[in-house]
């Protein structure tokens, strides 16, 4: 086991025999159902195939392509007896095609195309997965099953040998709920997004006249100010969140995080030494674009479920908005009531903003240089 030769890697190739990362034993089963037909592939690690049915015919401890080709028949038999697809009307007839090889990070895999014909157009499908059940109880099959443009994923094997999948009802509702919660959770834990917004909103109940902050006399302009800032921020980060979530634009995380910190400094200092005194929504929009990339990094970690990508993205965004709105509704009425007081105009606004800018500066240094 040596470190991978770098040249090999640069060429985008990966020689399985030279290195093995130690991941647990997984296979990858892709199934796509159209009408009464199923097409897909099964990827099983050569290590696992060797253990289960023996590929290394000459017993030299190495598996060659010749040995895999020779074993094709017994591989198909093994798969046929250990993987079953059933629909309520009966068993699907599964056929396995010619073996190919695919390279994964932990080594070479057998890539086995499969095609099946099922009795009737299935609404329900049962997958029975028994690969390596005798040899390695920790082996799992990672299934991705697509039907009617919805993809479900599941972990097969182990305690759950037989699993049933509903092909009719998309799981979009569940995805929606899950991502909505994630969105709300994120805005609460992502204190930096809130501080940015807060910095822009603190002066929304005030007016800048003759280089001084004065209370906004009426409620309507204050409300309009707040709405403009919140809308601009929402619009901007929705755009970039969408772009990043669909991988259309990618920005290094360190850059995003640093600029987010910088945006807080700018927004907060603008309250102390104002240079953008009206239409602050422009700041909200410009930097909101970058905050969107920040949200996206969380979403990347969660992953968007295939088949429910748009629903999940919308749900996540709505969650972020809901969390944001809750904070605005909590803080702004208080700010509005206090807007005429000296404490608000000469205390909360400048010193609060300075404190925010100070905190953000620490983050900036940590994120940009750390």
């Amino acid at each position: 086991m040596t470190l991978l030769p770098r040249l090999v890697l640069l060429a985008g190739l990966f020689l399985a025999a030279t290195a093995s990362a130690h991941v647990a034993s997984n296979s990858f089963l892709h199934l796509a159902v159209t009408g009464d037909r199923v097409e897909g592939s099964l990827e099983l690690s050569l290590r696992d195939a060797e253990l289960a049915l023996g590929l290394d015919a000459n017993r030299d401890g190495k598996v060659s392509w010749g040995e895999v080709r020779t074993a094709q028949g017994s591989l198909a038999t093994y798969f046929q007896s250990h993987l079953h697809l059933n629909v309520p009307e009966g068993a699907c007839d599964v056929k396995f095609g010619s073996v190919m090889i695919s390279d994964r990070v932990d080594g070479a895999y057998i890539w086995q195309p499969l095609a099946a014909i099922c009795p009737g157009r299935p609404q329900l499908m049962t997958v029975a997965y028994r690969l390596l059940d005798e040899e390695d109880p920790s082996h799992r099959g990672l299934l991705s099953l697509t039907a009617r443009e919805v993809t479900q994923s599941a972990v097969l094997g182990g305690p759950r040998v037989v699993q049933q999948f509903d092909l009719a009802r998309p799981s979009a509702l569940n995805a929606f709920r899950e991502y909505l919660q994630a969105g709300i959770g994120h805005i609460w834990s992502g204190i930096d997004h809130l501080l940015f917004l807060l910095s822009l909103l603190l002066p929304a109940v005030l007016l800048r006249r003759e280089d001084r902050w004065q209370a906004q006399p009426a409620a309507l302009p204050a409300l309009l100010n707040i709405m403009k800032v919140v809308t601009a921020f929402t619009l901007a980060h929705s755009i970039t969140l969408g772009l990043a979530a669909f991988d259309l634009v990618r920005i290094p995380s360190r850059l995003t995080e640093s600029v987010i910190a910088a945006s807080i400094i700018v927004a907060a200092l603008n309250n102390v030494m104002p240079w953008v005194t009206h239409a602050r929504w422009r700041i909200a929009f410009a930097f909101g674009l970058l905050h969107g990339f920040g949200f996206a990094s969380v979403l990347t970690e969660l992953g968007l479920p295939a088949g429910a990508r748009i629903v999940s993205l919308v749900a996540f965004n709505l969650g972020v908005e809901a969390g944001q709105l809750a904070v605005v509704l909590l803080v702004m009425p208080v700010a509005y009531v206090l807007r005429r007081t000296a404490i608000y105009r000469f205390g909360v606004l400048p010193w609060g903003s300075l404190a925010i800018a100070g905190l953000a500066s620490v983050w900036f240094v940590q994120r940009a240089l750390g």
């Binding site: 991978l4 401890g61 080709r69 972990v155 930096d192 360190r254 850059l255």
Partner: protein, 398 residues
């Protein structure tokens, strides 16, 4: 002797300087490289092309021995032990599954065997299924109370979970059936985490080495190395780790702790030297990646792609064996503090060793929310980590 394969003390990251852009670019490239690895199926050019090497013990030819083990305990136990040993030496998780399969008939409800249950608990512990391991150990101990190995494994698991009083009690039970040295290592290791670091260190260092067996010596020295590192005596820590490795070259837990010490001392080149050929073991690959990052080594791309893929595979299975490593990876290699904090918090629910606390503190600091690691700070103080080490878990001491 059972030893947690899960512990790997954190290090303080070397000064990064203004490398953000370059690192970010590398991260981007690595993502591309990871994609290239799964480029789609192909047909190899020739029959002679070697696609995989099958390690000893993972060959189909052993099927007859495995079948024999189904009916004979005297075959099953050594075979399971061999597989667990292979998993330790190579970091290959598949071997744990092979061991589990062999133990299957001997750990069921009908006529379980106490030793087989202890082996199963060891497997569960290696997979960080700590609560499950404790239940299995309870079953083993209900069959036979006088079972030192079961008590020691129990002590280890409880210690990882941060349940020190119970871990100490398990050490006392262990002492009844163990030699003096092993008993002392077990109990002093726990005392050291309960506020008695200095005295525990002195007690273990005082043990006479003449009568110590090599595995015991390796175990003691690794504990001493860890304690010295917490005490801030890096020089002594290095001597203890080196001495431990002299007795057991392949203990990847000690290798990880030693690598962390080197990283903290800004000696990344030595980390790569120490861990050469050990990159198949995920916690060690993490240290390699951190060292490569400090050295601007182009090999980082490969390490990053492999670590990312390993973490992705784990989460696809709904598991989190390497969450501590994942947190450190996100924080120190990927520079994604938010995700690192999320991982570190989840990890903290499962394990509470000093390293788990340190990675949580570091991630919380990087996110600007140090208060979310308040509990960890309290625990770290109890565990004897110095203020300086807590304040700068991954940074240089000036």
């Amino acid at each position: 002797m059972t030893k947690s394969s899960t512990r790997d003390p954190s290090s303080r990251q070397a000064r990064q300087g203004r490398r953000g852009w370059r690192d970010a670019l590398l991260a981007l490239l690595s993502a591309t490289a990871a994609g290239a690895v799964c480029a789609g199926p192909y047909i190899p050019a020739s029959d002679a092309a070697i696609l995989a090497e099958v390690p000893v013990g993972a060959q189909h030819a052993d099927v007859s021995v495995r079948r024999l083990a189904q009916g004979r305990l005297d075959v099953a136990l050594p075979l399971a032990q061999f597989y667990i040993g292979q998993a330790r030496a190579t970091g290959d998780l598949r071997f744990l599954g092979y061991a589990e399969a062999v133990l299957g008939p001997w750990v069921g409800k009908d006529s379980p065997d106490a030793t087989a249950l202890v082996y199963l608990a060891t497997i569960e512990q290696s997979r960080h299924a700590f609560d499950k391991a404790l239940l299995t150990l309870d079953r083993a101990l209900s069959l036979r109370r006088d079972n030192p190995q079961a008590w020691l494994t129990r002590a280890t698991v409880l210690r990882v979970q941060g349940q020190y009083d119970e871990a100490g009690a398990a050490c006392t039970q262990f002492a009844a059936g163990a030699d003096e040295v092993s008993a002392a290592i077990c109990s002093q290791g726990v005392i050291a985490l309960q506020g008695g670091l200095a005295s525990a260190y002195a007690a273990l260092a005082r043990l006479p080495v003449q009568t110590m067996a090599a595995p015991e010596r390796a175990w003691r020295d690794s504990e001493l190395g860890e304690m010295a590192a917490r005490l801030g005596d890096d020089g002594a820590a290095e001597r203890w780790f080196a001495s431990s490795l002299a007795s057991n070259r392949n203990d990847f837990y000690v290798l990880g702790a030693y690598a962390d010490l080197l990283l903290r001392g800004h000696r990344p080149a030595q980390v790569l030297q120490l861990l050469r050929g050990k990159d198949s073991i995920e916690p060690l690959l993490l240290r390699i990646a951190i060292a490569q990052k400090q050295l601007h080594d182009p090999g980082l791309r490969d390490s990053q792609a492999r670590l990312a893929a390993a973490f992705a595979a784990e989460s696809a299975r709904g598991e989190s064996i390497h969450r501590r490593e994942q947190a450190r990876y996100l924080l120190q290699v990927e520079s994604r503090p938010r995700e690192a904090l999320a991982a570190a918090l989840l990890n903290w629910q499962v394990q509470r060793e000093p390293d788990d606390g340190l990675v949580l503190v570091a991630a919380a600091q990087a996110c600007g929310v140090p208060q979310s690691a308040a509990t960890a700070v309290t625990v770290l103080h109890l565990q004897g980590v110095r203020d300086d080490g807590i304040a700068h878990p991954f940074q240089d001491t000036p």
